[in-house]
C-alpha cells in the first residue's frame, strides 16, 4: 500500500491551522470572557459584602446614636425634674418665710396693740376703780375710810423693817428735814396730831410736819423724809390689777400663737387669721367700751 504523504502532511498542517485559529477565535476568547465574568461576579459579590458590612456598621452607628439620644433624654428629664423640685422647694420656702414674716408682723402688731390696750385698760380701770372706790368710799362714812387709811398707814409705819428705820433715822439725824405728809383727803387736826405723835414716837425726835393735800395720790397717804418714802396708796392695788390683766392676756396670746402655729399653711390663711383677729379685737374693745359706759 502506497503511503499518501501529501494527505498525511496536509492533514497535520490542517490540524495545526485549525488549532491556531480555534485557539485564537474560540478558546482564548471564551476563556477570557468567562474569567472576566467570574472576576466581575466576584467583584460584585465583594462589593455587596462591603456594602453589607457598611450597612451593618451604619446600623450599629444608628443604634448607638439612638441609645445616646435616649440617655440624653433621660438625663435632661432627670435634670428638669430636679430643677422643678428645687423650684417647688424654693417657692414653698419663700411662701413659708412670707407666712412667717406676716405672722411675726401680726404678732408684733398684736403685742403692740395689746400693750396699748393694757395701757388704756390700766388707765381706764384705775380711773374706774378710783371713781368706784371713791364713790363707794365717799358714799360710806368719810371719816371712817380716811381713818382706816390712816390706820393702815400707821400700821405700816409700825411694821417698818429695822434697816429702813435706821436709814430714816440717819437721814433725820443728818439734816433737819421737814417731814412731809401728803394725803388725798383733808385731815382733821386730831388725826394730824395722832400721825405726828406716832412718827415722833417711832423715830423719837421732834420734827416739823408739813401736811399737804394732793390729787396725784388718788386715794392714799404718803410720808416723805428726804428721799425716803412710806406710803399706802390705791395705785399699788391698781398696779396689781394691771399685772393680773397682763398675765391673763399673755396666757390668751400663748394659746392663740400655738393654735396659729398648728394651722400655719399659707399667707392666705395667715391673712385670714390676721383679719379675723383684728375684727375680734375691735369687737372686744367696743364691748368693753359699752360695758364702761354702762357702769358710768
Amino acid at each position: 500500500m502506497k503511503v499518501d504523504w501529501f494527505t498525511l502532511i496536509a492533514q497535520i498542517i490542517n490540524f495545526l491551522i485549525l488549532l491556531v485559529l480555534l485557539k485564537y477565535f474560540l478558546f482564548d476568547r471564551i476563556v477570557r470572557i468567562m474569567d472576566r465574568r467570574k472576576e466581575k461576579i466576584s467583584q460584585k459579590l465583594e462589593e455587596a459584602d462591603q456594602k453589607k458590612a457598611e450597612a451593618e456598621q451604619e446600623l450599629q452607628e444608628y443604634h448607638r446614636k439612638q441609645q445616646e439620644l435616649e440617655e440624653q433624654k433621660e438625663e435632661i428629664l432627670a435634670e428638669k425634674r430636679k430643677e422643678g423640685e428645687e423650684t417647688k422647694k424654693k417657692l414653698l420656702e419663700k411662701a413659708r418665710q412670707e407666712a412667717e414674716g406676716l405672722r411675726n408682723q401680726w404678732i408684733q402688731k398684736f403685742s403692740q396693740e395689746k400693750e396699748e390696750f393694757l395701757n388704756d385698760l390700766r388707765r381706764e380701770a384705775g380711773q374706774q376703780i378710783y371713781q368706784i372706790s371713791h364713790r363707794v368710799l365717799s358714799d360710806l362714812a368719810d371719816s371712817d375710810l380716811e381713818n382706816q387709811i390712816v390706820k393702815t398707814f400707821l400700821k405700816r409705819l409700825d411694821n417698818l423693817e429695822s434697816d429702813r428705820e435706821k436709814e430714816i433715822k440717819k437721814t433725820l439725824g443728818e439734816n433737819k428735814h421737814k417731814i412731809l405728809v401728803r394725803t388725798s383727803f383733808k385731815l382733821t387736826n386730831e388725826v394730824k396730831e395722832e400721825i405726828s405723835d406716832r412718827i415722833q414716837k417711832r423715830f423719837s425726835k421732834t420734827h416739823e410736819f408739813d401736811f399737804q393735800q394732793s390729787d396725784q395720790l388718788k386715794i392714799g397717804i404718803e410720808l416723805k423724809i428726804g428721799e425716803h418714802k412710806i406710803s399706802w396708796n390705791i395705785n399699788q392695788y391698781l398696779d396689781t390689777l394691771e399685772e393680773k390683766f397682763r398675765e391673763k392676756l399673755e396666757e390668751q396670746e400663748m394659746v392663740k400663737t400655738s393654735e396659729s402655729a398648728k394651722t400655719q399653711e399659707d399667707d392666705k390663711k395667715a391673712g385670714e387669721i390676721h383679719g379675723s383677729n383684728d375684727s375680734g379685737r375691735e369687737k372686744s374693745e367696743s364691748e368693753s367700751q359699752q360695758k364702761n359706759a354702762g357702769e358710768d
Binding site: F6, T7, Q11, I12, F15, L22, F25, L26, M34
Partner: protein, 233 residues
C-alpha cells in the same frame, strides 16, 4: 466501494491531490472557525448571553472540566490542543448523517496525522514543563531497563491511537455501506445511529488519551516537584 475518503480524488496536479479527506477537513474547519468567529465577535461579559455564546461556553467549560479531571491543575495550557482535537473529531464524526459526507476521521491519514500531532505534543509539553533532561529521564523510569519498552510504548500508543480512531470510523462507514446493499431499509439507520454514538465516544477517547499521554509526560515532574517541596518543608 470506497473504503477510505482518500480514494475519492476531486482534483490532482502532480503529487498534489485534493481528495475528500482534505476537502471535508476544510469544511469542518470552516464550520468550526466560522461559528467561533461569528459567536466570539461580540461576547458579553454580563449575565445575559446569546444562545451561541452560552453553548460555546458550555462546550469549552465541559472540555476544561474533563482536562481538569486528568491533570488537576493548569487545565488552560492544554485546553486549545485537547479542545481542538475533540471538536474536530467530534464534528467530523457527527456529520456522518449528512448524505454525501465522508468523515475525514475515516481516513488513516487524518487519524495518523492527529496521532502524530499528539506524538509530538507529548515531548513539547513535557520539555516545556520539566526541561529536556527531566523529560528524557522519564524514559528510564522506573529503571533504565525500561528504556526500550518506553520508546516502543511511545510509538505503539501513537499507532494505536491512530488505528483506533480510523478503524472505528472506517468500520462504521463500511458497515453502513455493506448493510445498504444487503438490507437497504431501516437497519442502516440503526447502524448510523450507532455510528454517531461510536463517533462521539471515539472523539472523547482520543482526546482523553492524548491528555493522559501528555499528562504522563508532565505529571512525573509535578510529582518530583511536590516531593522536593515536601522535603524542603
Amino acid at each position: 466501494m470506497d473504503i477510505s475518503p482518500d480514494s475519492i480524488v476531486y482534483w490532482q496536479w502532480g503529487p498534489i491531490t485534493l481528495n475528500a479527506t482534505i476537502v471535508f477537513t476544510w469544511v469542518i474547519m470552516l464550520i468550526l472557525i466560522g461559528i467561533s468567529w461569528m459567536v466570539t465577535r461580540n461576547l458579553s461579559e454580563d449575565a445575559s448571553l446569546s444562545r451561541w455564546q452560552n453553548f460555546l461556553e458550555a462546550v469549552v467549560s465541559t472540555i476544561k472540566g474533563q482536562i481538569k479531571d486528568v491533570v488537576h491543575s493548569g487545565a488552560e495550557e492544554y485546553l486549545p490542543f485537547i479542545g481542538t482535537l475533540f471538536l474536530f473529531i467530534s464534528l467530523s464524526n457527527f456529520l456522518i448523517f449528512v448524505p454525501g459526507y465522508h468523515p475525514p476521521t475515516g481516513s488513516i491519514y487524518t487519524a495518523g496525522g492527529l496521532a502524530i500531532c499528539v506524538f509530538f505534543a507529548v515531548p513539547v509539553y513535557g520539555i516545556a514543563k520539566r526541561g529536556i533532561w527531566g523529560y528524557l529521564k522519564h524514559y528510564i523510569s522506573p529503571s533504565p531497563f525500561m528504556l526500550p519498552f518506553n520508546i516502543i510504548g511511545e510509538f505503539s500508543r501513537t499507532l494505536s491511537l491512530a488505528i483506533r480512531l480510523f478503524g472505528n470510523i472506517m468500520s462504521g462507514s463500511l458497515i453502513v455501506a455493506i448493510l445498504l446493499s444487503i438490507v437497504p431499509l431501516f437497519v442502516p439507520v440503526v447502524m448510523e445511529i450507532l455510528g454517531l454514538l461510536i463517533g462521539q465516544i471515539q472523539a472523547y477517547i482520543f482526546a482523553v488519551l492524548a491528555m493522559v499521554y501528555i499528562a504522563s509526560a508532565t505529571r512525573s515532574h509535578e510529582k518530583q516537584e511536590a516531593k522536593t517541596n515536601n522535603s524542603d518543608k
